[in-house]
């Protein structure tokens, strides 16, 4: 069909392209590099190449594919590792491709693998778009629900149980005399949100196992959150923790313009880790998209849309899905790079003017919904994006645009990270607008959460204020009650908020356990205050063995922690009392 007229970085201009459409996917040159038409002018098409254009020549052929950039959705997707264009990196590896040469191809869903399909509707039933017609046990943790594509529907004319590939026909529908053949695979354009019947309020708590998140700044299923922070402050580790332990049905990890080694680290750790609830391998509920920083820049743009499309697809089955994107800044930079090549009018700091709306169009695809079709069901997509501000300065455009969109912010603090206080999420500047909407849910799990949380946050706030005075007069000049506040808030920071992602037990904390720990520290506070009033002093409380014991709660296995904490409380009652001349 067309041929190349000009190549400039990732932008290729082709001529003789009449009849193509904007956003159509094209194949460029002998190697068939994937590209996407982003503009048409007469018979010329402006194409952004999703692969490295080095070596292309004017005159090389450009073929249209007739379709726009779409995801393949169906059995075989879970546990896969894809690049930004949904090439299966595992299949490529199996084919001996340790390095990704340009133009290599692989199917997203395996074509030869057979899946056992069990219908959930019968001949004669009427099914609308989005309705579930059958199931496939894809992994031990997820049942893949086969749905009628949103734009189809009718009366079931044929459907039967059996083993099928994703291209085999599993059902026939009829509508207005027209027959529709359904396979287990759908294709969906990645930049177009999938439809649902109704949005729902976000009121269910997403349990992540991370104490500072769950307890202090809880996230709701269907919520949208951002984690901004300079390099090395803990964005990636935090996102990896989320996809490891979140109590969702399925998680999607999008590595967008980040490191290969940390991708490998995540992949390997998922092979070894098991889901705390079911004991099954975490791989059975994960999808990875790995478009590392050295892979083609343009495909970064696709990677995030690909991820969110997959998330919506599983949401539509009635699942709670979490998507994390590391890093949305690299995504925005990809837009900037392409914009620059197209000589578009740059906005702030060279980013295209549409950067903010594109970010919003991604985050807006989060939410809790009533799904399309029957049976009636609810699903959710929760989105958390890392933001990597240059120089760690939050006033830059990507951070600022993101803050306008999201409802929870986990702000990472370089100072905390430098002191190795992890997660380095600042308790003074982070917030969650979901704290109220999930309160009922939290208080159902542990009565009294709202009060204890407020008390703990207040104490940390007071500590920050006191800190300024300490810097002027020194800790010894403070009255005993303030010294106690410093001691207790330090315990809150170090023994509760600090959480080691690499510690076998500490890595995941249930809400119940989190509550026990905060209660212990608050109890220490109460007892110490009483003892102070009776003439005790803080230096002696600090030296008390219970302080070290509280700090070592982290080592106590979940099975025995409640018992141990109750014993510790008893010990505190005895030892934290003022005696003549001091503490026992």
């Amino acid at each position: 069909m067309g041929k190349i007229w000009r190549i400039s970085g990732p932008v290729v201009i082709a001529e003789d392209m009449r009849g193509s459409q904007v956003f159509e996917v094209v194949e460029i040159g002998n190697e068939g590099l994937v590209g996407e038409i982003i503009g048409l002018e007469g018979d010329r098409a402006v194409i952004q190449a999703h692969e490295d254009t080095q070596g292309l020549k004017a005159g090389d052929e450009v073929k249209g594919t007739g379709g726009i950039l779409s995801a393949e959705l169906g059995p075989g997707i879970i546990g896969a590792i894809y690049d930004g264009l949904q090439k299966s990196l595992t299949d490529l590896m199996a084919g001996g491709n340790e390095f990704l040469a340009r133009g290599i191809k692989s199917y997203a869903l395996p074509r030869d693998k057979k899946w056992h399909f069990t219908p959930t509707v019968k001949v004669g039933d009427t099914v609308g778009g989005g309705s579930i017609i059958g199931t496939v046990p894809e992994t031990g943790l997820i049942e893949h629900r086969i749905m009628v594509p949103p734009d189809k529907g009718g009366v079931v004319k044929a459907i039967s149980e059996g083993d099928y590939t994703v291209e085999d026909i599993v059902a026939r529908l009829e509508k207005d005399g027209e027959v529709q053949e359904l396979t287990m695979m759908q294709k969906w354009p990645i930049k177009k949100p999938r439809p649902y019947s109704k949005r729902q309020p976000t009121e269910r708590l997403l349990v992540t196992g991370m104490r500072i998140m769950d307890y202090m700044f809880p996230l709701a299923l269907g919520g949208k959150a951002a984690i901004p922070g300079g390099f090395g402050t803990g964005k990636t580790v935090t996102l990896q923790q989320l996809v490891r332990w979140s109590q969702t049905h399925l998680n999607i990890y999008v590595g967008c313009g980040e490191r290969g080694n940390e991708m490998a680290d995540a992949l390997y750790s998922f092979k070894e880790l098991t889901d705390p609830k079911t004991g099954r391998s975490l791989e059975e509920k994960e999808i990875f998209i790995a478009n590392t920083s050295n892979m083609p820049v343009v495909a970064r743009e696709a990677s995030i849309f690909l991820g969110i499309t997959m998330a919506e697809y599983f949401r539509d089955m009635g699942y709670d899905v979490l998507l994390v994107a590391d890093s949305t800044s690299r995504w925005a930079e990809a837009m900037r790079e392409i914009g620059g090549r197209l000589e578009e009018m740059p906005g702030e700091e060279g980013f295209p003017a549409y950067m903010g709306s594109r970010l919003a169009s991604f985050y807006e695809r989060a939410g809790q919904v009533e799904c399309l079709g029957s049976p009636h069901r609810m699903g959710s997509v929760t989105v958390t994006g890392a933001v990597s501000p240059p120089g760690g300065d939050f006033s830059e455009p990507v951070t600022q645009n993101t803050l306008r969109i999201v409802d929870a912010v986990y702000a990472l603090d370089a100072q905390l990270a430098n002191q190795r206080h992890f997660p380095a999420i600042s308790w003074l500047t982070s917030y969650s607008l979901y704290a109220d909407s999930v309160a009922e849910c939290w208080n159902d799990i542990v009565p009294g959460w709202s009060e204890t949380r407020t008390a703990a946050l207040k104490m940390l706030q007071l500590e920050a204020e006191l800190e300024e005075i300490v810097r002027l007069v020194g800790p010894e000049a403070l009255p005993e009650k303030d010294k106690l506040l410093l001691l207790v808030s330090k315990m809150l920071r170090e023994d509760f908020l600090m959480q080691n992602a690499y510690h076998e037990i500490d890595t995941y904390t249930t809400p119940e356990r989190a509550q026990l720990v905060v209660q212990t520290i608050m109890k220490f506070n109460d007892l110490a205050q009483k003892a102070l009033a009776d003439g005790g002093n803080v230096a002696e409380f600090r030296a008390s063995p219970v302080v070290r014991k509280i700090s070592r709660i982290k080592d106590i296995p979940n099975e025995t922690v409640e018992q141990s904490i109750k014993e510790l409380w008893a010990e505190m009652e005895i030892s934290l009392v003022a005696q003549k001349g001091g503490v026992a």
Partner: protein, 463 residues
Amino acid sequence: MKSAPLYVREGRAINEAKGSLLVAKGIPGVQYNEMVDVRLASGEIRRGQAIDVSEDVIVVQVFGGVSELDLEDSAVRYKGDTLRLPVSIDILGRTFNGIGGPIDGGPPVVADEFLDVNGSPMNPASRIPPAEFIETGVSAIDGLNALVRGQKLPIFSASGLPHNQLTAQILRQASVKGAEGKFVIIFAAIGISYNDADFFMGNLEETGAMARTVAFINTASDPVIERISTPKLALTAAEYLAWNHGMHTLVVLTDMTNYCEALRELSAMRDEIPSRRGYPGYMYTDLAMTYERAGRLLGKEGSVTIMPILTMPDDDITHPIPDLTGYITEGQIVISRELERKGMYPPINVFLSLSRMIKEGIGEGKTREDHNNVFMQLYAAYAEGCYLREISTIIGAEALSDRDKMYLTIADRFEAEFISQGEVRRTVEETLDIGWKLFAALPKEELKLIKEEFIEKYLPSAD
């Protein structure tokens, strides 16, 4: 043996020449990013690259600029290929310039292969996580910010600080347990002074390391454009030795600040829209293309470890060069002027330093079982000491409690005994034992981050 093709096309119609760009008439078959030689009327040859290719015109960036070029009598010769490095095992022990030509007086390399210096991205699914400890013999690194095979860990320094001394010390001392014979150094000098390059080469020769080194030298007086290709050549050599010959390569790139300056210069010549402080918007991606070549591969013996050195302009860690580097590398070792002024060597600021791969590389069977705990407790104790030091500058140390005074002493001793080790080499066990010696000065209940069993086993009795 194969030989590289010379030229495949030649064009004489040059329409325009300005700055470093030359606009020539389009010739069918010219590839995007193809290498070009421009022959001037005088016979002088300048290198260039086709950076915008269309049917009508080809824009060539001429390295070294277009001065003295006349539109009538010059020719553009297209090589039909991008830059390639001839490789074979015989590159070991050799020294090359920034475009891969030998400069050690030896013969050209009889090549097994001509490799595209840009390489190809590793398939993330084929990687295996770096996990084997490299002992550098430096406590601040081995103990607190360990380097592992396949990692990219830069040294952030600034002008006038002893990064060369430290790098030379690391090169001299580095060892990979159990694979000593397979350890090689790839050294790339990028726009550094002749003296500095000479210092490194002399060091490598003195210690007898030259036979297991490949060097690529671009000094300050060499062409700026070759600063761009120098690290790519070094990585190409490293990949070849790692993936074809199972070697563990440590690639030292110094000074990457010069690389970034060269990138900025080229970008300005191309009239590109600059991003922060004049550096091109694609600098993150460009640096990532280099640094991401570090790693390990499933089923392969070797590894590529990268240690870039860079000098932070104005000692500013938020400057785009260290900032973007930090966003790509797996941590950083930061050299501090303040500590250097205190007379410490190596003056490593351990708060600003970080190794993201440490947890994989340390512990039982790798270094020692107590390593992780010692590492965390040392950080906590030093942080506390530094905080109190700050307070005591205002209120005076006398106003502190006894406990707090104890932490002040710990911070001082940590700097003197642990960090400031001088040019001696320490094993990782020696490093950890120094940590324990410091802990002995604290009451046991302060050791909150250490398991009871390790305290019993390793804590020396207080004296």
